[in-house]
């Protein structure tokens, strides 16, 4: 189950992602021996990712969320395989570019 850790790292490196979040009540997480990976949960046919999205300034040029999510799915396609990737945008931060 090092998959979850790799997926988390891959997600964090996407430009539209400010960080990972546990989702509502912190339910999106993977428990590994001695470690808890917040924001990613992997089952046989689904991967859930809860992120804090980043809105770039100026907002007029910000990337819409559907594109952020598509980019995220694309970035981790080799790790997720045939599983559906559900992206939950749990919070958003505004950052100057």
């Amino acid at each position: 189950m090092t998959d979850a850790r790799k997926i988390a790292d891959r997600a964090r490196s996407c430009p539209g992602v400010a960080g990972l979040s546990g989702g509502p009540f912190g339910v999106v997480a993977t428990y590994l021996p001695g470690e808890r990976i917040t924001g990613v949960s992997v089952t046989d046919d689904e991967v859930d990712i809860a992120i804090v999205a980043r809105l770039t300034e100026p907002l007029l040029e910000a990337e819409p969320f559907p594109e952020t999510a598509d980019r995220l799915r694309q970035a981790m396609a080799d790790l997720t395989g045939d599983r559906r990737v559900n992206v939950r945008i749990h919070d958003v931060v505004e950052e100057p570019r």
Binding site: A77, V87, H90
Partner: protein, 131 residues
Amino acid sequence: MTTPSTADPRAAARPQVPVQRPAPARLPEERRGRTEVSDRVAAKIACRVARELPEVLDVGERGGLPWTRSPGAEVRDDHVTIALDVVVAYPAPLRSTTGRIRRHVAARVGELTGLRVRRVDVAVTDLRVTP
């Protein structure tokens, strides 16, 4: 003798059983899965884009009890309803101003979140004279 038509009309009328239908095209990997946006995110973006208009001086999310931070937006499936409290510059005609706020917020929130905006409730809570 009749000329053979290009397509047998009876063939078109014949119902197709599921096994004859072409298999659904496999989606590219970036399309597989749901994308969800939380209430909080929709509310934050609604407040933020409302401030883009010059006649809007301040925006707050509406509702709830004073000690709770209740969302100014509610997301259900792929649509969202938004409620905002706005402070408007004084000599602005309220009806047309709120209409403009509503259209602007609906368009920008829809664009940024990919959700369909069902309704935008705008309450003018104060008028302020700008120097």
